[in-house]
């Protein structure tokens, strides 16, 4: 099938949906194994899962609501008003008209490393930040491509999406933790009266331990896979918006060739930028652990549109 923009967007959405379903199934299987290993009945097991969701949800709610302010503060971003930078403002305004979105707040980061990010829980509470470096180093159409990519993240509700994924990761980590602690401190006081799973206890115990150790890792891998899919989706959405995939492709090429690391970025915020700002690359295994797809891949897909 020809990789048109629409096909790519559909494929991305499908893959995201598959990953999320897989994630939920994975959690369900893990919970079931834990419950069997500890000989819980299903009601207790479900209530523990429910509580884990609520606790993790509450913990992450704050970060979800204030994520934009926190990240902008961390990056030392300064609010830009239209008269200070009319070209940037007009580019964003044009893109918002083209996608039917309200204008986000625009921020500037003083750094010669070219990069940009978008944040905000929905289009009405959104912000885009760009470095002074990217304003200097990119041509107008390349900058437009980058801005379209960032706006697409907002339009696709990616902050909300990744928050949900983070909650799922948190839940599985919490459950694995609870499981191991229950094992360690003895679970006899929690055994149900007569409906215990009983048979094959040893096997499930072993499986449970394996799951408890591996599941946080697997959850992280799923989260990173979702992050990569959403990056591809933002690329495709940007191409559809600007009708000019070459703009973004050329921008990505320039960003890739630039070897300067962004000073204000660190491991916690790295995933939000358009290209990985930390520049500490190497090795194929890195691919699975990275928040962004390889740039050559992204450029190749854009050139095919």
């Amino acid at each position: 099938m020809l990789p048109t923009i629409y096909n790519q967007i559909n494929a991305n959405k499908q893959k995201t949906w598959l990953l999320m379903t897989g994630f939920v199934l994975f959690i369900s299987v893990a919970v079931w194994i834990f419950a069997r290993a500890l000989e819980f009945d299903s009601v207790s097991a479900l209530s523990i899962v429910g509580i884990s969701f609520i606790v993790t949800g509450i913990i992450n709610l704050g970060s979800f609501y204030y994520s934009d302010k926190i990240v902008l503060r961390l990056a030392g971003a300064v609010l830009v008003n239209p008269s200070e930078n009319p070209e940037l403002y007009n580019l964003v305004e044009g893109l918002c008209i083209g996608s039917g979105m309200p204008m986000p707040k625009i921020y500037l980061i003083q750094d010669s490393a070219p990069n940009a990010f978008a944040t905000g829980r929905n289009p009405q509470h959104a912000a885009i930040a760009v470095t002074t470096g990217i304003l200097q180093k990119l041509e107008r159409q390349e900058l437009e491509g980058v801005l379209a990519h960032e706006l697409s993240h907002i339009k696709n509700y990616d902050t909300l999406y990744m928050s949900l994924v983070v909650i799922l990761v948190g839940v599985i980590a919490l459950l694995a933790d609870i499981f191991m602690r229950t094992l360690w401190y003895g679970g006899s006081s929690r055994r149900s009266n007569n409906t215990g799973a009983g048979s094959g206890g040893g096997f499930f115990l072993l499986l449970g331990i394996v799951f408890a150790v591996l599941s946080p890792l697997i959850a992280q891998l799923i989260k990173l896979a979702v992050s990569r899919q959403r990056e591809y989706l933002a690329d495709a959405s940007a191409a559809l918006l600007t009708r000019h995939p070459d703009g973004l492709a050329n921008a990505l090429q320039k960003l890739n060739d630039d070897t300067e690391a962004l000073e204000v970025a660190n491991k916690a915020t790295a995933h939000m930028y358009i290209v990985n700002p930390l520049k500490d690359w190497g090795g194929k295994l890195n691919g699975l652990f990275s928040t962004h797809p390889p740039i050559e891949d992204r450029i190749a897909r854009l050139k095919q549109m």
Partner: protein, 186 residues
């Protein structure tokens, strides 16, 4: 579950489906209407800017009068058609104006020493921004038209869309090709 209840449930489900289909069509049509008005806003900004741009360019350059008069004439013509509701008629008129403004843009840029004339450079930048926004507004409108027209043509909506009063919308497109790829270097 008696057969009667099952049939009732099925009928209920069908009614809910038709209800959501109808509302979806209404929303799609509203989007078309609103984005049409947004094109108008951008076009009006262009009408407001052009006299200034033409006057300043006339004073700063010694280009042929015909370029300027053409822009002025087509601008008047476009402003007279603002009340026309048919998008393709307006698109034809507006694209003629776009072409003329385009020609003016290229001629001014090619003029020697133009970058020293700050006021003209400023107006040319504003013109470029407005042209971009008109293009984006048009693109968004046409996307909404595509979405709405698709929704009333697919099955099963196609069976009752026109009887419910949903007529196809027209895209904002002129017959002749007018979208030229421009790299404005100023």
């Amino acid at each position: 579950m008696t057969p009667f209840l099952i049939i009732l449930a099925i009928i209920g489900a069908i009614l809910v489906y038709i209800w959501s289909l109808y509302n979806g069509l209404v929303v799609a049509r509203k989007r078309v209407e609103v984005s049409w008005k947004d094109i108008d806003i951008q076009l009006k900004k262009r009408y407001d800017l052009l006299p200034d741009l033409v006057e300043t360019a006339k004073k700063a350059t010694s280009l042929d009068e015909s370029i300027f008069t053409k822009v002025a004439e087509l601008r008047s013509k476009a402003m007279q058609t603002t009340s026309v509701t048919d998008p393709s008629t307006r698109a034809a008129v507006e694209s003629q104006l776009s072409n003329a403004v385009h020609g003016l843009q290229i001629a001014v840029e090619a003029y020697p020493d133009i970058k020293s004339h700050m006021e003209l450079v400023n107006l040319m930048n504003m013109n470029r921004d407005i042209e971009d926004k008109i293009a984006y507004a048009r693109q968004f409108y046409n996307q909404n038209v595509l979405d709405y027209n698709t929704r009333i043509e697919v099955f099963p909506a196609v069976m009752f869309a026109s009887s419910m009063g949903f007529k196809p919308a027209t895209a904002f497109e002129a017959a002749e090709a007018e979208r030229v790829d421009v790299k404005v270097l100023l």
